[in-house]
Amino acid sequence: MAHPVLDLTGRRNRGEAAFGGLARFAGILVLIVLSLIALVMTTRAWPALTSGNFFTTKRWSVPDEVFGSLAFVFGTIVSATVAICLAVPISIGIALFVTQVSPGWLKKPIVYSVDLLATVPSVVFGFWGISVLAPKIMGFYESVHDLTSGIPGLRSLFGQPNGRSMFTAGIILAIMITPIVSSLSREVISTCPQGDREGALALGATRWEMIRAVVIPHSSGGLVGAVMLGLGRAMGETIAATLVIGSSAQITANLFGAGNSMPAVIASEWGEALGQHRSALTALAVTLFALTIIVNVLATSIVSRSRRRAQGTI
């Protein structure tokens, strides 16, 4: 029974509901933008996507209006793979060092220094790559080329060297993704319970044996996620790759060969592209978008699963 003098109803607070609604809208904005990106780009890319040979040929000829994506997909994957091969041991090595080995006072400086790498804009890395790294590394490439010229399999892998090549792009990409792979790996590794680690040491294991037997198996799942996240970044990195990858639409086993990647060709050819050419470039962007979304979805669920397992909510 409502009491006449004691009113507990409270005016329906409009501001309250509006604020909550606004917050929810801002959250949903992420979903809206992602969907819009997919929609708008796929629409523009449709002619190229349905042209029949987009996914099957490596030929990319503007005057003949033949647009095949294979060379760029190849270049993207190769340079990203090189980046991963270089970056993963380094990143995980740093992560293990910081969490398992380093004395307390050294941890923050190391972490800050690695994060400093992430602060350098990608275009500066690309500039350095094309001006300094590419010319200077020719010597190294040449030695490797000479060294492997006798070995059948490796010979084609390390063929005629070019400064601006997929391998150089891989190096630059590796430098760029190290901070994030390292930081995520650190997070994953530090969830390894102290008790397990101390248990191994108490049984007489050396530090390295403890790391190998306890820490790595425990974190391996999460580390896979961290590596995949790095892969996604490497595939999508545009500017640094554009400058050093060599801009040549070819498929070759030669890591030292010039190549091209999806983001790089979009960046370099969009300015003067028209009509079907534009459609093809947009189609490349759609392919890249889809690829990175898939990789990121997988990586995010792996990492978040390992996080939740550590918190005990799984």
Binding site: A2, V5, G10
Partner: protein, 285 residues
């Protein structure tokens, strides 16, 4: 101190009253067959309690018996926990506070709370106490200053902090912080103050200070306190409710039940239930 005779009272019809709650029908709270659920789990069941004006009511009992759950259901603080719901009635002056039109925000202006661990805002002492009145629409500086002084006086903290009102509330000692939280609570002039083990994080001297404060403010407020400290309940309260837990054989989880609710003197010297007697005499904790 005499009891108010409930049987002859009717809901008051008077249209005006001097202080906002005086003429409203006692009792302050009536809990009827109250059960509280967290999702499917029943935390406490079948609680029947009546809380009278200007008294201190204590909830005692071992851990995990639902004392805090029942306390928090009095000002709808359980709403903050996802999946929490209530069965039965919680009547505040005859109004079901879980009714469809009732706003929990307004309920909490009438029923304040002091928590186990002192939780002052990371703001100045002044801003801590002024926060509630500000939210309720008091804007003028002079009004706020008067309210802050009055509240800090009421919490027996004024003399200690009057020269540093604009320093951070976090710079006070534990006992002072708790009294600051009490001042903050009384600044919005609630009728009821709920206290969830307010002294468990404090040292004995600070505890004594807070107990003293509770006696001082009793005449202006109705207080319900959850405490683990039996002696504290025996010292300070007028009425005591003893809770215990029964173990559900299927799920191995405990559901709280109200064993006995009576005058404090009786609960501690001559309880009706054997379980109560075992608890208050220390045969089990």
């Amino acid at each position: 101190m005499s009891f108010v005779d409930l049987t002859n009272q009717t809901a008051s019809q008077s249209a005006s009253y001097a202080d906002s709650h005086a003429a409203v029908s006692p009792p302050v709270f009536e809990l009827r067959d109250l059960s509280v659920f967290y999702s499917a789990f029943r935390a406490v069941r079948d609680v029947n309690i009546t809380i009278e004006r200007n008294q201190i009511t204590a909830f005692i009992g071992p851990s995990g018996c639902g004392k805090t759950t029942v306390l928090r259901s009095l000002n709808r603080m359980n709403d903050l926990i996802e999946g929490a719901r209530v069965d039965g009635d919680v009547l505040y002056h005859g109004i079901d506070i879980y009714g469809p039109d009732v706003s929990p925000t307004v309920v909490r202006r009438h029923i304040g709370m002091v928590f186990q661990k002192p939780n002052p805002f990371p703001k100045s002492i002044f801003e801590n106490v002024a926060f509630g009145p500000r939210v309720n629409g008091v804007k003028k500086k002079a009004d706020l200053e008067a309210i802050v002084e009055r509240s800090l006086q009421g919490a027996a903290l004024w003399d200690e902090v009057k020269d540093r009102l604009h320093t951070s509330g976090l710079g006070l000692s534990g006992g002072q912080q708790q009294r600051l939280c009490i001042a903050r609570a009384i600044a919005v002039e609630p009728e009821v103050i709920l206290m969830d083990e307010p002294c468990s994080a404090l040292d004995p001297i600070a505890t004594a200070r807070v107990e003293e404060l509770m006696q001082e403010i009793k005449s202006s407020y109705t207080i319900v306190i959850v405490t683990h400290n039996m002696q504290q309940a025996a010292r300070t309260s007028d009425r005591t409710a003893f809770f215990t837990a029964e173990i559900n054989p299927d799920s191995d989880r405990r559901t709280g039940i109200l064993v006995e609710f009576d005058d404090t003197k009786k609960v501690f010297s001559n309880p009706s239930d054997e379980r109560t007697e075992n608890y208050v005499t220390g045969r089990f904790g």
